[in-house]
């Protein structure tokens, strides 16, 4: 077995066997899903407490038509607030002073505790409807109500993309945006988490002084690349395990909960009726985005962006003695990554804007920004040019990093500055 693969193997297995890796891999998706599910579950728990609301309707027009809900009971209560104030512990008092079609339509809800927004909304919509019905009736025109109802037109926009073979596909900007953001965030997370892991690994070997033993057996470049590649594999493993864990959880969820998983394939007959039309459109749009293509470029851009930044992180780890000194060197690296994230967030709502396009070509930002563009469809030559530039840059950055790394790992005690780094990089006479 050659040395590089031996080193990759050690870097990989020593990390995958760690408890923290297992926790990250299996607990993280669970935790995320719980964070999403718990509020959903809690909100679906029925509030079966019935609250009584005293209604003081001076006009007498509305009380008879106010309908009780499972949670709110509207109870008549005389003509004035004073009359029923101390009678029972009502949740709230609704006071309607006059006919709402005349003058400013204001009603008041008094309470000791702040009332819930649902009560306010319910009362408001009920009364608004009644008032406008009354008003329409007061014009005494035959069939006016019907006319008004017919005149309400809501325009719906469907976005449709032509595929390469000329077919039409329903799309959704929202869903493209969400997918773009999720993949961009994942790449951002992976570059930081795994780039940092590379740096800490280098610092650990340097401060343990084992590095001198290893470079007496293998070339520093082999050690550096072995570490970078080994950790990249850890990242990919984690990503695919997450995908598997999420899929398993979704399947389990659909068995026990009532998530209509069948709807994921809208072509299946008989399922359409069970779904509200909005969800169905979303699912159709989801299927219009080629997930395979996104996954393919996601893995490529993850590797490219990671290799670019991880090699720089390795160089920093080699140049310094302990992690406290890292900041002066890592700061110039975090700025472009952060910038890329913000450009990506902005680009999600404006995928064809000049900032988004440019940033999807610049190698330091393209791994993140291109992810945002992908679900909206990107010309193939954009992808080729962008990835070509990224590949060139990471070849260059790896070479540069190797120069710093190979000198740095054997230097102890001296504080490394940018000037010293330059002396390591510049060509020998």
């Amino acid at each position: 077995m050659n040395k590089l693969s031996l080193i990759i193997q050690r870097e990989y297995t020593s990390r995958v066997k760690k408890k923290s890796f297992l926790i990250m891999t299996f607990v993280m998706p669970l935790a995320l899903i719980l964070i999403i599910l718990i509020p959903l579950l809690l909100s679906s728990v029925k509030d079966n407490k019935v609250r009584q609301i005293a209604v003081i309707d001076a006009s007498g027009l509305y009380l008879p038509r106010l309908q009780n809900t499972p949670n709110y009971q509207f109870i008549p209560c005389g003509d004035s607030a004073e009359a029923c104030k101390n009678k029972a512990d009502y949740y709230a008092y609704l006071i309607i002073k006059r006919n709402l079609t005349e003058g400013s339509p204001i009603v008041r809800i008094y309470s000791e505790q702040q009332v819930g927004a649902d009560l306010k909304d319910y009362v408001q919509s009920q009364l608004s409807q009644m008032a406008s019905e009354d008003k329409i009736a007061s014009y005494q025109i035959e069939g006016l109500e019907q006319i008004i109802r017919d005149s309400r037109v809501r325009v719906k926009t469907e976005t449709i993309r032509w595929t390469d073979d000329g077919n039409e596909q329903k799309t959704s900007s929202e869903i493209s945006m969400i997918i773009g953001m999720i993949t961009a965030m994942l790449i951002y997370f992976f570059i930081f988490a795994y780039g940092g892991m590379v740096m800490n690994g280098v610092i650990e070997e340097k401060s343990n002084r084992i590095v001198e033993i290893i470079v007496s057996s293998a070339k520093p470049f082999q050690l550096m690349m072995g570490k970078i590649i080994g950790i990249a594999l850890v990242g990919l493993t984690q990503f695919f395990l997450w995908v598997v864990v999420v899929l398993v959880l979704v399947v389990i969820g659909s068995r026990f909960g009532n998530i209509p998983l069948d709807g994921l394939s809208p072509s299946m007959p008989g399922t359409e009726s069970s779904l509200p039309p909005g969800v169905l459109d979303g699912l159709q749009a989801l299927s219009s985005i080629s997930m395979g293509k996104i996954l393919f470029w996601f893995v490529l851009y993850f590797l490219g962006g990671y290799l670019l930044y991880a090699s720089l992180f390795a160089a920093v780890g080699g140049a310094i003695d302990n992690s406290e000194d890292a900041q002066q060197f890592t700061l110039p690296m975090t700025i472009p990554i952060l910038f890329a994230l913000y450009a990506g967030i902005y680009g999600a709502s404006n995928p064809e804007g000049p900032l988004t396009i440019w940033c999807s070509f610049i190698p330091f930002t393209s791994p993140i920004v291109m992810m945002v563009r992908l679900p909206f469809g990107v010309p193939f030559w954009h992808l080729v040019l962008s990835y070509g530039l990224l590949a060139l840059t990471f070849v260059f950055s790896t070479k540069l990093a190797a120069k710093i790394y190979r000198t740095g790992i054997l230097m102890y005690g001296k504080k490394t500055t940018y000037k010293v780094l330059w002396q390591w990089i510049k060509p020998r006479r």
Binding site: S14, E212, I214, A218
Partner: protein, 307 residues
């Protein structure tokens, strides 16, 4: 036959010359002591032999041939700053490092078993390194250095951090390796251990090799012609003393008196035989001992580095 030979090696770092035309010759199956004060350039030379760095000019020969990449398989290196993976299991990292040195997994396992039994640390194989005492870690490190049975062993301060029992054990192992035909390059500040186990030495000072050869030859060539004499005090010491001071054969370099003995360092005048001195002495005193003063490696080291 030299196993390792360097030919006018020059290594320049920014703003400082680390090695200035250093040529050492290390004979096969011998222990060669590489000596020198801190910062003299020993570590740089050792790193060049290990191909961790490369010389700006000059060449390194191993067994007569220029050093090449695969020669690392035949070299075992114990750096002065010891280090292993703290969180990795002992046997696991020994296997890993042995395989980096070209051993197959099976072979490495077999040899590891032998050494763990020999050093009586078999129970520790599955422990993480950080759970071991410092002395134990040193043993593990020694095993890792020799596991692939290298023909050339480079030890940088091998005894530092060992208690006397373990020091003795490692010393015996080093002599064992030599007996089996390994060539050993041994860098140290401990001059007593140099006298004890080194066959030849090379002394580097301020980036230059200033002294090289067999330990015995170097010691003899640094003789100063001084003799250590121990005499029993006569009845009238003062008279005897004044007698000696006038002697034409020698000069008294130093003397110390205690109630029973008189200890002298004498330098004999040029062209004279020891026996004439001896004769002069026994006419006045009872001689307890008479020996030529041979400088220790310690003295040679200090004298050479200071001059």
């Amino acid at each position: 036959m030299y196993y390792v030979e360097t030919r006018s090696i020059v290594k320049q770092y920014t703003g400082h010359l680390a090695l200035d035309k250093v040529s050492i010759q290390v004979p096969e199956a011998k222990i060669y002591g590489l000596l020198g004060p801190n910062g003299a350039g020993k570590t740089t030379l050792i790193r060049i032999l290990n191909q961790i760095t490369y010389p700006d000019s000059g060449e390194v020969l191993l067994n007569g041939n220029p050093l090449k990449e695969n020669d690392v398989y035949h070299i075992g290196y114990l750096p002065e700053e010891r280090g292993l993976y703290k969180k990795m299991k002992v046997a696991e990292q020994a296997l890993y490092l042995a395989r980096l040195k070209g051993l197959s997994k099976q072979e490495a396992k077999k040899r590891l078993r032998y050494w763990f039994d020999k050093f009586n640390i078999r129970d520790w194989a599955d422990k993480k390194l950080e759970e071991l005492s410092k002395g134990m870690q040193q043993k593990v490190q020694f095993i890792i250095t020799v596991l692939h049975e290298p023909k050339l062993l480079i030890f940088d301060e091998p005894f530092s951090g060992f208690d006397p029992v373990n020091t003795q054990m490692i010393k015996e192992e080093i002599l064992n390796l030599k007996a089996q035909g390994s060539t050993i390059l041994f860098s140290t500040h401990n001059m007593a251990s140099v006298e004890e186990i080194c066959d030849e030495i090379g002394l580097i000072n301020k980036s230059k090799l200033i002294l090289q050869g067999k330990v015995q030859d170097i010691k003899l060539s640094h003789r100063s012609g001084i003799y250590l004499v121990k005499l029993r005090l006569p009845e009238d010491p003062d008279r005897a003393k004044s007698q000696l001071e006038k002697s034409p054969f020698f000069k008294i370099e130093s003397s110390s008196l205690d109630p029973y003995y008189w200890q002298l360092e004498l330098s004999i005048r040029d062209g004279l035989n020891n026996n004439s001195v001896f004769k002069e002495l026994y006419e006045h005193f009872e001689i307890v001992s008479f020996e030529e003063k041979i400088p220790t490696m310690h003295e040679i080291f200090i004298k050479s580095v200071k001059s």
